[in-house]
């Protein structure tokens, strides 16, 4: 299956089950959880269902586009269901069938895998979903986000898009995947993942392992932090402040990929990101108290 077809089917499937289809957030980030649609959406009491694709960057996983399985940037398909429905596992299984996976012929297991993001002050319990020995999704019941208890609890489903495509198509190289087809009067041209991304993988890997200016990144980290706290403290702006926390997180990841962060330094740096993110979460909740949530507004109809 083409990557774009997989995405379209997942979007259709979850839209039909009451999810808003969101968009990726236009800042570098390590996982779809960091998108404000999830980070803030999982907080507070209002119901909230959303699904979206998120390109996710992991500088340390960069392999210059040479490793057939590992990449600097991959696509996650993220679903948040709040509160978590009683049939959430069943819904997830149906979504696999919507991708054309005939589960009467496959082995499917939910193996314990508890998720934690120290830089977001977030953790949850759940599973990695394993299909014929291959991890294809992460399934998490959020217990805390931004250091705050999640009540009600959201279920987070994260599909690894490239992995599922490779697995379904039996590909041995991620760059051979077909993203989709361009159709013109001259004919149909399949476009591969490699055509779209291999050069990008090379340059971004080289950047995070060799070319990134370490002094600049250390300075940036400090500056983003200062800016974030200023926005939050002087203006009470948790969304723009949260963007600074995201930038801090990515800057840290670049430094980390270069081996510029010692094991003793690491927890302290992660805590600085967490402190800002947690403060944003708290400010969001204070602001939202009593304000109508997107789902409520929708029920109320046009105003």
């Amino acid at each position: 299956m083409h990557i774009q077809e997989l995405i379209l089917r997942l979007q259709r499937f979850w839209a039909d089950r009451g999810c808003l289809i969101g968009q990726p957030y236009d800042l570098e980030k390590g996982a779809g959880t960091m998108n404000p649609l999830t980070f803030f959406g999982a907080l507070g009491t209002k119901p909230w269902n959303v699904a979206y694709v998120e390109p996710s960057r992991r500088p340390a996983d960069g392999r210059y586009g040479e490793n057939p399985f590992r990449v600097y940037k991959h696509l996650q398909f993220q679903v948040i269901l709040k509160p978590s429905p009683a049939k959430v596992q069943e819904m997830y299984i149906e979504s696999l069938e919507a991708l054309g996976i005939d589960l009467s012929k496959h082995d499917l297991r939910f193996e314990e895998d508890n998720w934690e993001s120290p830089s977001l002050g977030a953790w949850g319990v759940g599973w990695q979903v394993v299909l014929d020995g291959m991890e294809i999704s992460q399934f998490t019941y959020f217990q805390q986000v931004g250091g705050l208890d999640c009540r009600p609890v959201s279920a987070e489903l994260t599909y690894g898009i490239e992995r599922i495509c490779m697995f379904l198509g039996g590909y041995d190289n991620i760059f051979d995947l077909v993203h989709g087809e361009v159709k013109t009067d001259d004919g149909v041209f399949p476009v591969t993942y490699g055509q779209m991304r291999q050069r990008e993988e090379f340059e971004l890997s080289a950047y995070s392992f060799e070319h990134a200016d370490l002094d600049l990144h250390r300075t940036l980290f400090e500056a983003f932090e200062k800016e974030g706290w200023r926005l939050l403290k002087e203006h009470g702006h948790f969304l723009s402040a949260y963007e600074q926390a995201l930038k801090m997180s990515h800057t840290f990841n670049v430094l980390d990929a270069r081996g510029a962060v010692s094991t003793t330094e690491r927890p302290g740096i992660i805590k600085r990101v967490r402190d800002l993110a947690s403060a944003c979460a708290k400010a969001y909740l204070e602001h939202e108290e009593g304000a109508p949530a997107p789902a409520d507004t929708a029920k109320g109809g046009a105003k």
Partner: protein, 696 residues
């Protein structure tokens, strides 16, 4: 006794982490057993434990108890009321208070007796009430929701909008007492006589599985694709593993823990064989076994000579693999993993292992004790000090030093970064590839061993020395900066390291005492210590004494042997071992009981005495004491433990005769002193082996 029924409870949840299944089932069983013991007061919970069967699978926790009475026996209760004088007037008639007491308990006043209960100063009104026993099903219905909510869940979670906490969401409750449903509700889920079968097979069924009677439980579920007994699943897996390995021309590389894991993560076990390209066999065996185990929960297959075959066995949660997808999928994933492992193996070998030595500076061992580079320096110093004591061969000592320098370098390799459990093993492999001396690479490879009390010590003397020095530095270093294990808290696993040191000394019989080792190690720690050497030494001696005591236990010596042997010296392990061996053998001897008795008696007699060391045999008068004194010279002249015990055995009879005939504490002070001295000298000889006063 009323008729009995079988009780069945099943919590059907979303997939419960494997590691919690057995403890949760046991905890639930213990709580129900406790309640049964309370309701049926005549029995303790052991009676009920014998009637309990536990079941679990990834989505189920279940218990079945047979022989549970349908009703409780009638409960007799005695109720005490006001004093007699307030219940009865002078004319002997009931007062208002007396009437009220009778009314309160629903009996006529004529049923009230007057007795003086324990703890009261005067006779009081007393009634005996017989409460009819309640139906067990009612008792269960009342108690179970609370019992379930009180289960000990190490990592509890919430879900949906509820505040209820459990290990994973509860989706169905099956609760039967005989054929009757026990009406309970937990977090909005109400019990029925139905449950769900296998997650995938059962999806074709619109209706859940009905469990008509508790006895029908396993069979009904098996028909729905779930083998609910973990033991049954383990047995089936083991059989399939053996069969498929034999078909492939080899045998399974045994791994009991992995077998348990597989039995816990599937509801219906089907072992599938997959193959991988033979070219991956160029990777070290440990890398393949670890990669397959950690990433794919798969077993390797080895030939009779121990070499691996290019195939693996893994468990699917299915009854079959109709389209071969399970095989193909696992092969695909494994290839990706092995590709990574081969990449690491190739990258790591582009530079000699020794290149990582400097990089160890950036790797913290412990905050106060510094980096792994600093640790390596201390271990090298320790090896130098101890190796020269154990070996005269300079080349050998130099190789030991080389091994110590290289020991931690693999912590900076890609392979160990990916598989931390391959530490040591990879260092050894890489050194072997570089053409290092076999002593060196073997020592590095095995220097983390023994990793637990079950594990063997390193197979070579140099490996043992390196392991001992590494662990000694960890233990002594941590103690010197105040990181001392206490109670159940031992985050750095210092006890395990200490046990490893003792294990090595015990097996090797090296003439190194804990005092020796502590002294040497603290010299290496030097200025990094935050506590005084005296403090640390004292704490470490106590620590090592406990480890030695445990080593004796692990070696299988009886309690009496351990206690009495330890009491007369524990630091010289070779000597301690010889004494324990001799004592254990001697305890079987018919004369032993008499001798131990006499030894105890000597101890008692000498308790408050100060006998002289020099003993004058010429003062002894009776034949029995002269005979006993005659043994003393040979006894004191015997050096080895076995000979000493043999000599002691010979003493059993003369001693018995002595105590029968001789009154030690006689009137004559000189004779009395001589006898006490004789006993004192005998006791000294005894103590060279053991303190018999601690026997039994």
């Amino acid at each position: 006794m009323s008729a009995t029924q079988t009780f069945l409870l099943e919590l059907h949840c979303e997939e419960i982490p494997a590691r919690f299944l057995a403890p949760l089932t046991q905890d639930l069983a213990a709580k129900i057993e406790g309640s049964l013991a309370t309701w049926f007061a005549s029995s303790d919970s052991a009676v009920w434990r014998e009637r309990a069967e536990g079941f679990y699978s990834p989505r189920k926790l279940a218990l079945r108890f047979h022989g549970i009475p349908e009703t409780q026996p009638d409960q007799t209760e005695t109720q005490v009321g006001p004093p007699q004088r307030m219940c009865v007037d002078e004319a002997g008639k009931a007062t208002i208070q007396g009437e009220k007491f009778a009314e309160k308990w629903g009996v006529p006043f004529s049923a009230v007796r007057f007795e003086q209960p324990a703890g009261k100063k005067e006779p009081c009104a007393v009634v005996t009430i017989i409460r009819p026993g309640r139906p067990t099903v009612d008792l269960l219905a009342e108690a179970l929701p609370g019992l379930i909510a009180s289960l000990h869940v190490p990592k509890a979670m919430r879900w949906g909008s509820s505040d209820f906490e459990f290990v994973r969401p509860i989706r169905n409750l099956l609760c039967l007492f005989g054929e009757q449903v026990v009406p309970i509700t937990v977090d909005g889920v109400t019990a029925t006589n139905t449950t769900w079968g296998h997650r995938l097979y059962h999806r074709q069924h619109a209706a859940p599985v009905t469990i008509a009677t508790p006895q029908a439980y396993e069979a009904a579920l098996e028909a729905a694709g779930v083998v609910v007994s973990v033991d049954a699943r383990r047995t089936r897996i083991a059989q399939q593993l053996d069969q498929l390995a034999a078909e492939a021309g080899g045998r399974v590389v045994a791994d009991a823990e992995l077998l348990d894991t597989l039995a816990e993560i599937v509801e219906f076990p089907k072992i599938v064989r997959g193959d991988f390209p033979a070219s991956f066999l160029e990777l070290p065996k440990e890398v393949l076994v670890t990669s397959l185990r950690e990433h794919q929960k798969s077993f390797c297959i080895e030939k009779a000579d121990g070499e691996l075959l290019p195939c693996f066995l893994t468990a699917a949660n299915r009854t079959d693999d109709p389209a071969g997808f399970v095989k193909a999928g696992n092969e695909w994933v494994l290839k990706a993993r092995l590709y990574d492992a081969r990449f690491f193996f190739a990258e790591d070998r582009k530079h000699p292992l020794s290149d990582r030595l400097e990089k160890l500076q950036a790797l913290t061992f412990q905050r106060d004790l510094g980096s792994y580079h600093a640790k390596t320096g201390r271990v090298v110093a320790l090896v130098k000090m101890l190796a020269t004591r154990l070996s005269q061969d300079e080349a050998h000592v130099n190789r030991a030093l080389e091994a110590a320098r290289m020991a931690k370098c693999d912590l900076r390799t890609l392979m160990v970064g990916e598989f931390p459990e391959l530490q040591g093993i990879m260092g050894g492999e890489y050194l072997k590839h570089e053409g290092a001396h076999e002593d060196v690479w073997m020592a590095v490879k095995e220097h983390y061993r023994p990793v637990g009390t079950e594990d063997d010590i390193p197979s070579t003397p140099m490996g043992c020395l390196l392991s001992l020095c590494d662990k000694l530095d960890t233990v002594a270093g941590c103690f010197a900066v105040g990181l001392i294990p206490s109670g159940s808290k031992d985050p750095l696993a210092l006890r395990r390291a200490g046990q490893g040191i003792v294990h090595i000394l015990w097996e090797r019989g090296w003439a190194l005492t804990p005092t020796d080792l502590i002294h040497t190690a603290l010299m290496a720690v030097g200025q990094k210590a935050t506590r005084t050497a005296a403090e640390t030494t004292e704490a470490l001696l106590t620590f090592f004494k406990d480890r030695v005591a445990y080593q004796l236990e692990l070696s299988g010596y009886a309690g009496s042997v351990r206690r009495s042997a330890l009491a007369t010296g524990w630091e010289d392990l070779a000597d301690l071992k010889a004494r324990c061996e001799a004592l254990s053998a001697f305890a079987e001897d018919a004369r032993f009981a008499s001798l131990a008795q006499s030894a105890k008696r000597i101890g008692n007699i000498l308790k408050d005495e100060a006998p002289a060391e020099i003993f004058d045999g010429s003062l002894l008068a009776q034949a029995e004491e002269k005979a006993l004194a005659g043994h003393l010279a040979s006894l004191e002249g015997t050096v080895d433990q076995k000979g000493l015990l043999a000599a002691l055995a010979e003493l059993a009879e003369p001693l018995e005769a002595f105590f029968n005939a001789v009154m030690v504490k006689c009137e004559d002070p000189a004779l009395r002193a001589a006898r006490l001295s004789l006993l004192h000298r005998l006791r000294q000889a005894f103590l060279r082996v053991a303190d018999f006063s601690l026997w039994q």
